[in-house]
Amino acid sequence: MFNVSLAETTTCSETDLTVDFRDQFLLTYQHMLLSRVLEEKLGSLYRAGGRIVGGVYLGKGQEAFSAALGVQLRKGRDIYGPLIRDQAGRIAFGEPIIDTVRTYLGAVTGPMRGRDGNIHRGRPKEGHLAMISHLGSLLAVVAGGLFARRLAGTLKDSIGATSIGDGGTSTGAFHEGLNMAAVEKLPIIVSIANNQYAYSTPNTRQYACANLVDRAAGYGVEGVAVDATDLAACLKVFRAAVARARAGGGPQMIVGSLLRLAGHGEHDDASYVPDKARKDPAARDCLAVAEQFTLDHGWMNEAEVRELHEEVRRNVDQTFSKVSKEPTPDPFKENWQALSSADLVEGQHEA
């Protein structure tokens, strides 16, 4: 019924667990936890009504896959084009959570200044692109940034990375962008979270190949599949892919299998997901899996985990408390111009 194939996925063995790997695992786990707690807060504010205008779109269940990529990137040097369910990846890349909160609450102090909201945020000059809602269209933008750097001689070992879901791979923009990146042999990671549903549509209605990673060969790029609920495996896969991209190996397609553990947005109860899918191994909660992994390996004990949860919760609450006192946009003070060339702005001629 569902296209979830874990047969060919990369796994992590005990020999992979070096000290360096352990440190990255623990760091990534913290990013995931912060993301989860932050998003739970956003979800409860949405349900309470009033503070958040518009929707809330959560990445629950995708934190491992998202953060495992983000943590490989270097803010200020790499270009990151995250998508809807990449709160964890954005944190791992270095976005402060106050940017998330300010954008959701529409604070003028935030990067989008109330002009755009929720997940549609970024700081392009810091390499964090601000997604538009049209799926697949960011891939070419990331590619263009890398292309321009190569032209200017500033690419060096910087890379780009962008995310999409199973639904987004059906767009023409995704195809055009990936094909172009492959033709130009650009150092870009294309991370595909196959979370089985695009809004309500099961992935059997999105594609007909056995596994999305099979498409990599058609583009002439490297493709790797991974169990996206397994943080250790995700880290291993993204580390290797990033190394290949930095070394000139061209685009890298990583396909992670998981189940979206939230609705498309918080307005959606996802009642269309059958119980059978929720009992599948792909429906494991990656955060719980990562937590158990650290406990099993003695990297943290239960008290430390509890303490970390508390600390993260305090951090999130303090951030919301700070932002809730910040100003929201004033239409009379707004600079209503869509062009940076002020002398070419129209609008003084309305009747």
Binding site: G122, S137, A143, A338
Partner: protein, 321 residues
């Protein structure tokens, strides 16, 4: 020595590449081949590593230009035909046009669009897309009608820190010649009085400027002096110059080659009606193409678009009122 409209476009790109290392060219068949119309002839040889053939991917071409612009580049993207920009529409209106507003990061890209009809080109190689793009905030739309404007407005477009839709008319490519490029004219945003007059005003742009001038010549034989305003850029639209002209003549014909529903001519009429109603001695008139796809055969094509004859007839109706 003379220079065509098309050669002026090539020369402007040469100059842009020479002047600024941040400029590069990206488009289908534009490198070694020099472009479907040869607007980039020899540029890949003269500027190695800065003129690139793209895959047939209009969406990705524009997306790539936006990403490059964020990194400080100033790409010039050639759409092989304006018609094909519909495939890149999303990236133009949603990615490029919103970037500055959303993120405060300017988006200096120039999208060259070989526009408008020529005999035999048919429904998919003849379109005029300026109104579609003008509808969206965040874009500048220029429509040069002269060799001089083709050159200087392209250079100005590349210098602007905003996305520019540069509509170059294919009908003018070879037909329109000048002795030389000439001095820099008006800036983007200012319309030009292409011919002064006092009995009626035609406001138009791009290739229709020349049809309008011919119609004005014809009306002169009957003793009418027709003023022709060349908009040069349809967005921003120089409403002041339009109103000043209508104030002189009292009669307005808005003329465009594009489809009739909405669009640039409707915008002209709306502005003059709402801001200059008291200046009008007659109801403002519009003349556009017919409301069908653009036909292939010359017999049909010539009747589909406004021509000197139909413009002259419209003027006579306007003057009779």
């Amino acid at each position: 020595m003379s220079i065509t409209y098309l050669e002026a476009i090539r020369e402007a790109q040469y100059e842009a590449l020479r002047h600024d290392p941040a400029v590069f060219l990206y488009g289908q068949d534009i490198a070694t081949f020099g472009g479907a119309f040869k607007a980039t002839k020899n540029l890949s040889k003269e500027f190695p590593g800065r003129v690139f053939d793209s895959p047939i991917s209009e969406d990705a071409m524009i997306g790539m230009a936006v990403g490059a612009a964020v990194e400080g580049a100033r790409p010039i993207i050639e759409m092989q035909f304006a018609d094909f920009s519909s495939v890149g529409f999303n990236q133009i209106i949603n990615q490029a046009a919103t970037l500055y507003w959303r993120t405060n990061v300017p988006c200096p890209i120039t999208i060259r669009m070989p526009s408008g009809g020529t005999a035999g080109s048919g429904p998919f190689h003849s379109q005029s897309m300026e109104a579609i793009y003008a509808h969206y905030p965040g874009l500048v739309i220029v429509t040069p009608a002269t060799v001089e404007d083709a050159y200087w407005m392209l250079l100005d477009s590349v210098t602007l820190n905003d996305p520019v839709i540069y509509c170059e008319h294919k009908f003018l490519y070879y037909h329109l010649k000048a002795d030389q490029i000439g001095e820099r004219g008006l800036p983007i945003g200012k319309a030009r009085i292409a011919r002064p007059g006092r009995h009626a005003t035609i406001v138009t742009y791009s290739a229709m400027v020349h049809e309008a001038l011919r119609a004005a010549e014809e009306l002169q034989l009957d003793g009418y002096q027709i003023e022709v305003v060349d908009l040069r850029s349809v967005k921003p639209m120089d409403t002041d110059t339009i109103l000043a002209s209508v104030a002189r003549t009292g009669r307005l014909l808005a003329l465009g080659e594009a489809f009739p529903w909405g669009g640039v001519t409707a915008e002209i009429i709306a502005r003059v009606s709402s801001e200059g109603f008291h200046l009008l001695d007659a109801p403002p008139m519009r003349l556009n193409s017919k409301d069908t796809p653009i036909p292939y055969h010359p017999n049909l094509w010539k009747s589909h678009r406004p021509t000197t004859a139909t413009i002259a007839a419209a003027l006579r109706r306007l003057l009779r009122y």
